[in-house]
Amino acid sequence: MKKLRRVVTTALTLFVSFALAPVAFAHPLGNFTINQYVGLTISREMILVDYVVDMAEIPAFQELAPYDSDRDRQPDSPAIQSYPADKCASLQPALNLFLNNQPLTLAPASSFVEFPAGVGGLPTLRLTCEFQATIDSTNKALDLSFENNAFPDRLGWKEIVVSAEGVSLQGEYSTTSLSNRLTNYPQDLLTSPLDQRGVEFEILPVASSAQIETSAPAAETAPLPSNRNDEFTRLILLEEITLPTLLLALAISFFWGALHAMTPGHGKTIVGAYLVGSRGTIKHALYLGLTTTITHTLGVFALGLITLFAAQYILPETLFPWLSLLSGLFVVGIGLNLFSERFKSSGLGNRIVSLKAKLAVPPKYILSSAGNMESLNHSHKYVLHASRDHHHSDEHARRHPHDHHHGHADHSHAPPEEITWRSLLALGVSGGLIPCPSALVVLLGAIALNKIGFGLILVLAFSLGLAGALTAIGIAFIYAGKFFGRFPASGKVIRVLPALSALFISLIGLGIVVKAAVEIGIV
């Protein structure tokens, strides 16, 4: 008891500001963590290293015991005076700075230690070391890398922050401290301790006011608007399922599915464009919708099963980029296939081309009417082409039976622009391949609540909504095509547009592939 009182008194006298806090909390990151912060300041002639170590109660106790002569758990030995300088010197070899791959010598500049009170007046330890190194970045670019190898096994926050003074830096690094130099750790459930052990960047020779800085935390993808999906995911919580509520739930699911179809990243423009571009009929549109529905539903079920039974082994998220990659490859393949066929047709079938020229409309015209769908201009030019073709196949054939006949006859292989069921299937699959995470949540929620049947129906309705929107887009294009197909148009550029637009489909597919590959880490 006497001992305790002495601890408290010492704590009070030594650390008034801390002891005044009504309750002393445990170290926010656990009482045996060693947390480290490294601040690198780069100027033209010098690199300053601001190194902070924050030891929680247990490592602080182990560290300070040799300096505690009267065993009151407070450092009192005179030797503590030299502790900060000695400790900084002993940690310095673990802080490795490389300039153009050559180790750079760090010279100690200052050192300081304090012992903020932790739980029950037990001291924690906060050591601050400053080092510096001289560089010359006036007339050449320098590669700089830094590694922190101190306390390798210890749990704890590890942060590296870089700032520039009068120089430009290029690389990926953080410019602000999330923990405010280990004084204020983010504590919500959704933030993990940082584990930044190294950083690499380039010091550019000419100082310019516009610094090129990319901060790592800021580079994260912006979160999707969440409230939208939540409406859908909450449906599974319905307590009593009666016929009216069921119908309402299904309608809502369908609606959110349709809305989900409008979010970017599913290649839906391409799907719609292809459909109408290749003499599609409403039957084709429906077939496409069905394929997408089935693929999406199966995809959700499959991922749901993975999440339920193999979450320990595979994270469904890691599969998403692969699915994107697959979907992108589908699109590239479809585009290339179209391109090769159209290229041949634009060179060989002159009469077809002249006919096409007669029927085509200027690209801008369609663009303005269809431009609100999605932002891919080129695919809309393709839509333009598509509408003409559709016209060709359905209506024009009646008026010019000869031309139509010829278009089919002079090729030994399947006529260009003809929809093949196989390519439709590929497109449908590519559109439904990436399951919507909310649909996944609904399914898992349903399983969790033993309402599997209800969940399946909701997911199916959601997928139907998704496919319905897609089909609707297709049908809209078909009718738009018919409408604009009546306008006369001319121009040589129209001749190559079909082939170009096919190429653009491939390019969009390639874009999806590259983005997915970057996410996976292949490139």
Partner: protein, 444 residues
Amino acid sequence: MNKRKSILLLLSVIFTIAASQVYGAASNASDGLPAAQNINGGALANVPPVEVAIKTFQDRLKQNPNDPITYALLANQYIRHARETGDVSGYQRAEQALNESLLLLPKYTYASTTLASVYYAQHDFASALDLAQAEYEKNSKNTQALVIVADAQLALGNYLEAEAIYLQLSDLGVTPPILARLAALEEMKGNPKDGLTLMRRAAGDALQAGGTKEGVAWYILRVADMYFNVGQYRQAGKYYEAALRVFDHYPLALAGLGKVSAAQGRYDESSAYYQRAINIVPHPEYLAALGDLYLLTGQPDQAQLQYETVETIGKLAELNEQVYNRTLANFYSDHDMKLKDALRLALAELESRKDIYGYDAAAWAQYKNGNFEEAQTLIEQAMSFGTQDARLYFHAGMIAYALDQNQRARDHLEQVLAINPHFSILDFETARATLGILQATAGK
């Protein structure tokens, strides 16, 4: 002997040899655990590291903050983090995440069952039992809840209830988790060989089935523990090394190797292992063992530092209401420190948890406080299942010796040396010395 008979004889001989071969092969295969040196974690590389998994689920929740399933999955990864690092704060985070999940989806069985397992991990066995029991009553297909019910019963000392449930569960499927629990029961009932057989099978199956590195390493670690408990230090060492190969930086395996090298008299090596384990997680048991090693090798100041760190952790644990009670009570009793505290902690723990080691800790604290009669009643309770644990026999022997029951003391201490002489770094000498005195007086 006619021809037909001799052919028949020949055939039957061939058949017998073949059958014995097949049977032999089958009985080997039924174990399934490779020799320790052939075990490595190479095949288990596919599971995402726990930090990656946590980050994934956190990101998912940032996009969809009202997703109860992901909260539960995140909680699961926090549990995994706590298991892998020994940092118990992971359990607190898991509890928070599960409460979030249940707030969003109150009837979410998976979340409430996982919450029960978190209570168990935090040594709140009564709450774990209540919650798991309630979940199981709601849905009799929830075998996960039933496992927790049995685990909590086991921890609380209700062995018969626990065993009945494990046997019931093994009818549904003999999985590694069930095998491991049946193995622990056999060990507790004084059948260490049967326990080891079951545990080896569990480890072999777990290695086959795959999973997280820590998950698989744990089974191998338990095999090593069981070898150690029967005094087979070489085998124990091999399997601790195997566990460490499967999951590097595994603090439990490092401490196991510390235990083995100390038993084999390699004190410097032992210190190094314990130091490595302590660098990862400063567990009181590792610090105490390291202190004992320093004391044994004539470095009392270093020993003192380790012991004081244990005390500091005890103080922190008390302030944070954490769960090192029994460990601390044993530590104080073993080192003749704060004996009143030791008794208070041990008796308080026994109030809520009447398993054999609860009785043992209370008996040992009573003995150290000079209450030998009480100590003997308690240690008899601890040994009522016939558990072949050297530590129990050592305590029983010392208590009997204090009560002048020399024959009894001698029997018990002889058992200590027969079962696992190096059960403790310091007590080995005490056991041997006391037995020496007893044998000398008996010889007179």
